[in-house]
C-alpha cells in the first residue's frame, strides 16, 4: 500500500556546486575521530584508556544512562588522544588507524528468525544502536522503548545533500537485512519514503510501507513525512534512521562486522570538482576535500548540509551521521546599501526588490553572511509559507523561548526536531536562531517531563 505525499509549502534552495555523480575512493585517513557532540545528550563513560589498541567495531565508551549502549571505534588502531574541554568533558576521541584493518566479529544472525530481544541486544552491543534516533526529543533512541512506527526518508531535498538513490545503489541486500531486523522491534509499520520519480533501491524492499514524496524542501525531511503520515502524540515514540546508516546496520547482521564505510557527497561553490567519495565515519575531511580542490583560502566548511550541518575545518572529521560535506564562502564583508538596493544574486522569500522569485531554477552562490542583524520577531505569516507541518511555527518558537512547558506540549514540540525549523530559520527576517531555540526547548521538555 502506498500513499503519495505532496508537499506544497516550502522552498528549494538551489546552490552552486552540486556533487557530480561519480564516486572516488578517498585517500585513507591517518587519524579517525569520533566527535562527541554528534551524540546529543549522551554522557560518555570510557571503556578503554588512552593509548589502547582497538579493533574496528570495538567499544570505546558507553552511555552513562544506559550501560548496554556501546559506542564503537570506526577503525582499528590506537586511541591516541582523548580531547577534553571545560570541566574535563570529553569532546573528541582520536584513533590512529592501523595499516591493515582488523574487525571485531559478531555472530552472524539470521534476521528472518531473530527475536526482538536478540536484535535489540545485538544492535546495542555492536555499536549500531546510536544510528537509531527517536522522536520526541530528537535523541538517540531509548533502548527501553517500543516505537509505534519507524520512519526512513530516502528522499533528500536539502541543498547539496547526497542523493540517496545514488549512494544506496547495489545495497539492496544490506537494506533488506536491516529492515527485517528492525521489523522485530516494532509492532507498527516501517514507513519508507522515496522521491516520486526515483529509482530508489528502497522501493523494492519487503516489510515496509512505501510512500512517494514530491515537492520542495522540506519534503525530504523525515519530520515532514512523519507529520503527514502519522504524527507523534504525547507519550508515543517513533524512530528515525537515515538510509545510509541502514546499510551499516544491515552489513552487521549479514557479516558480523561494523563497517563504517559510507559514500558522501562533497559539494559547495568553493569546491572545484564536487563529487562523491567513499570514506569512513570519522575520517579527516582534508583527505577528500583537497582531492577535489578548493578555489579560495577562506571558506566555511560544513559537516552536513548548509541548513543543518555543523561548522568544521579541513582538519576536522566526518560526523557520525553525516553523508554530506559542504564548503561555501565566508561572508564576513560589508555591503554598501545592502539593505535597500535590488538584489539579484541571493535567495529571498519575498519580492521586496529581491528577484529570486523570477528565476526559481537559478543556482545561487550564497555565503555565510547573515544579511542583516538579529531582531525581535516582527513579521508574521512568512514562516507558514515554507512550513508544511500542521504546527504554528512562530507560536511554538515563542513558547520555547519563554519556557512554557504546557504550550510547548500543546503546540506540538513532541513532533519536531531542530532540523524541521532549518528552513524557517533560513528565511527569518529577524535572523532568530530557530534551531537553537527548538533544541533548547526539547532539552528542557526532556529534562522536565521525558
Amino acid at each position: 500500500m502506498s500513499k503519495d505525499i505532496r508537499i506544497k509549502k516550502g522552498l528549494n534552495i538551489n546552490l552552486v556546486g552540486a556533487a557530480e555523480k561519480t564516486t572516488s575512493k578517498a585517500v585513507l585517513s591517518n587519524v579517525y575521530a569520533l566527535n562527541l557532540d554528534d551524540f546529543h545528550g549522551i554522557t560518555p563513560k570510557m571503556l578503554v584508556k588512552q593509548g589502547a589498541e582497538v579493533k574496528a567495531g570495538e567499544p570505546l565508551f558507553y552511555n552513562k544512562a544506559n550501560e548496554e549502549m556501546l559506542f564503537v571505534s570506526p577503525v582499528s588502531g590506537e586511541l591516541v588522544e582523548i580531547v577534553r574541554g571545560a570541566r574535563r568533558r570529553i569532546l573528541t576521541l582520536k584513533i590512529l588507524a592501523d595499516k591493515t584493518q582488523e574487525y571485531t566479529s559478531h555472530k552472524v544472525m539470521d534476521v528472518e528468525k531473530a527475536e526482538a530481544d536478540e536484535v535489540r541486544k545485538f544492535l546495542l552491543q555492536s555499536g549500531a544502536w546510536p544510528f537509531i534516533k527517536q522522536r520526541p526529543y530528537d535523541i538517540i533512541a531509548t533502548p527501553d522503548s517500543t516505537p509505534k512506527a519507524i520512519f526512513i526518508s530516502g528522499y533528500a531535498t536539502a541543498p547539496l545533500a547526497a542523493d540517496p538513490d545514488f549512494v544506496l545503489q547495489g545495497k539492496e541486500a544490506e537494506l533488506q537485512a536491516a529492515i527485517s531486523a528492525l521489523r522485530t522491534l516494532t509492532p507498527g509499520k516501517i514507513h519508507v519514503s522515496v522521491g516520486k520519480s526515483s529509482q530508489s533501491p528502497l522501493a523494492g524492499l519487503e516489510g515496509i510501507t512505501l510512500h512517494k514524496v514530491s515537492g520542495p524542501h522540506p519534503a525530504g525531511l523525515v519530520g515532514t513525512q512523519i507529520n503527514k503520515i502519522d504524527p507523534v502524540n504525547k507519550g508515543e515514540v517513533v524512530w528515525t534512521i537515515s538510509p545510509q546508516d541502514l546499510v551499516i546496520i544491515g552489513e552487521l547482521f549479514l557479516t558480523g562486522k561494523f563497517n563504517a564505510e559510507r559514500t558522501i557527497a562533497l559539494g559547495g561553490s568553493v569546491v572545484k570538482s564536487p563529487k562523491y567519495y567513499t570514506t569512513k565515519i570519522g575520517a579527516e575531511i582534508s583527505t577528500f576535500l583537497y582531492a577535489s580542490g578548493v578555489s579560495q583560502e577562506k571558506f566555511r566548511l560544513i559537516n552536513g548540509d548548509v541548513l543543518t550541518g555543523s561548522k568544521t575545518h579541513p582538519e576536522g572529521h566526518l560526523g557520525f551521521y553525516n553523508n554530506t560535506v559542504t564548503a561555501i564562502p565566508e561572508g564576513d564583508d560589508y555591503e554598501f546599501f545592502g539593505w535597500n538596493k535590488p538584489v539579484f544574486n541571493k535567495i529571498s522569500s519575498t519580492r521586496a526588490l529581491t528577484f529570486s522569485w523570477m528565476q526559481p531554477n537559478k543556482k545561487y552562490d550564497l555565503d555565510t553572511n547573515t544579511n542583516g542583524e538579529h531582531r525581535a520577531f516582527v513579521v508574521t505569516g512568512r514562516y507558514e509559507a515554507v512550513f508544511p507541518l500542521d504546527i504554528y511555527p512562530l507560536q511554538l518558537l515563542k513558547a520555547c523561548m519563554v519556557k512554557d512547558l504546557d504550550e510547548m506540549e500543546q503546540l506540538g514540540l513532541y513532533e519536531v526536531a531542530p532540523e524541521d525549523f532549518s528552513l524557517t530559520e533560513f528565511i527569518c527576517i529577524s535572523k532568530q536562531p530557530h534551531q537553537q531555540i527548538i533544541r533548547e526547548g526539547l532539552d528542557l521538555l526532556y529534562q522536565e517531563i521525558g
Binding site: 534552495i13 509505534k148 504524527p231 502524540n233 504525547k234 507519550g235 508515543e236 566555511r300 541548513l307 543543518t308 550541518g309 561548522k311 561555501i328 565566508e330 561572508g331 564576513d332 564583508d333 560589508y334 555591503e335 554598501f336 539593505w339 535597500n340 541571493k346 535567495i347 529571498s348 522569500s349 519575498t350 519580492r351 521586496a352 526588490l353 529581491t354 529570486s356 555565510t368 553572511n369 547573515t370 544579511n371 542583516g372 542583524e373 531582531r375 525581535a376 520577531f377 516582527v378 513579521v379 508574521t380 505569516g381 504546527i391 504554528y392 507560536q395 506540549e409 503546540l411 506540538g412 531542530p418 530559520e425 533560513f426 528565511i427 527576517i429 535572523k431 536562531p433 534551531q435 517531563i449
Partner: protein, 420 residues
Amino acid sequence: MGLKEKLHQTKLKYQGKKMAPAFNALHTFLYSPNETTHSGSHVRAVDDLKRTMNTVIMALVPCLLFGIFNAGYQHYSAINGFPENFSVLEHFITWDNFWLGAITVLPIVVVSYGVGLAIEFLFAVIKGHEVEEGYLVTGMLVPLIVPVDTPLWMLAVAVAFGVVIGKEVFGGTGMNILNPALTIRAFLFFAYPTWMSGDKVWVHGAVDRAGTADAISGETVLGYLAQGNNTEMFAKYDLSEMFFGFIPGSVGETSTFLILLGGLFLIFSKIASWRIMVSAVVGSLAMGLIFNGIVAAEWIPEYSKFYGLMSFEFWQHLLVGGLAFGIVYMATDPVTGSQTNRGKWIYGFLIGFLSVMIRVFNPGYPEGVFLAILLMNVFAPTIDHYVVRGNVKRRMKRLKNATIFPKVSGEVEELKTETV
C-alpha cells in the same frame, strides 16, 4: 583607506561601549553588516527587517508627495475658489502648490522622525540593544495621518508619548500591543480635541483666518456628511476627485488611488498581508451595506443626525477619510495585528466593520479607522488564542488514539499526562 575600512575600525573601537548601538545604527544604514552565521543554518535569505521596513516606506512615498501637492492645492483653492475645468498638470502639480506643501508638510516629517528616532536611539543606548527599525515606518506614517496644520509642538509631545508609552515600555519593536503611529494619532485626538476636529485644521491657513473677513472652510467630505449636507458635498466634490484624492483631509490619506497602488505593491512584494486588506475591505462594505439597508427600509428619519453618513453609498466609504489608508498601511502592521492566517481574516473583517460603524456613530468626529484598529490591536491576541486553540484541540483529539507501548523492561511508568 576607504570609507568601508574606516567605518570598520570605528566599529571595533566602539565595540562593547555604551554608544555602540547608536554608531551601529548609522553604520548599518550605510553598509549591511559583516556578521556571519554562528548556529543553525549556515546561509540566510537576503531579507532583513531594514529591507522590509524600507519596502513599506517606498509604498508610502507616493502618498507623501501627493499630500505635499494637495496641501498647496487645497489652500489656494479655498482662497481663490476651485478652478473650473480642473486639470492635474495645470492646477495641481505646480510650483506654488509644491512650495506651500513642502514648507507645511516637511516640518511635520522632520519633527516626527527627529523626536521619534531620538527616543529610539536613547532607549537603545540605555538598554544596550541595537536600534530597531520599527520607527522608520512609524515616523513616515505619522505625518500622513495628521491634519496639515497640526502645531509642531503638539506633534512632538504626541510622538514622545506614542513611542515611549506605546512601544518602548513594552520592550521596543516587536513587543508593542498598540500600533505606535495610531497611538500618536489617538493621543493628538484625545489631548487636543478642539484642534483635531472641526472644519479648520484640514486646510493650511484656515485656522489663522478663522473669524476674519478672509475666513475659509476646510470641511472634509465626512464633515459634510456628518452634518447631513450630502447634496452640498456632492456639489463640491465628485467621485473621481474623492478617488484620486483632491479633497481636504489628513496629509497622506486622501488619494485612494495611490493607496491602492501602494497596497498592491505591498501585496506583490509579500510584505503586507493581503488577507487583512481583503477582509477589511469586505468588512467595511458589509457595514456600509447594513447602513444603506437601514436607510432603504426607512427605519431612521431623514432628520436623524446619522442620516447623512448612513445614506452614503456603501462602497464610497472606502474613497473618503482614512479608511483605505488605515486598511493598507496600519491594519497590516504585523506586530500589533493578528499573527495567524485564519486570525487575520477575522481581524481584518472586524476592522473594516467597526471603522464604518464608528465613523457613522461617532458624535464628535466623523472618523473611526484609527479607533477601530486600536481596538482590534487589543483583541488580536485573543483572536490568535482561539485560532491556535483549534490546532491544539486537533492535536488533543489525535491523542485519544495514541499508540503507546509499555517499556520493554516491563517497568510501569508513572502516569505523566497531567500537563495535557
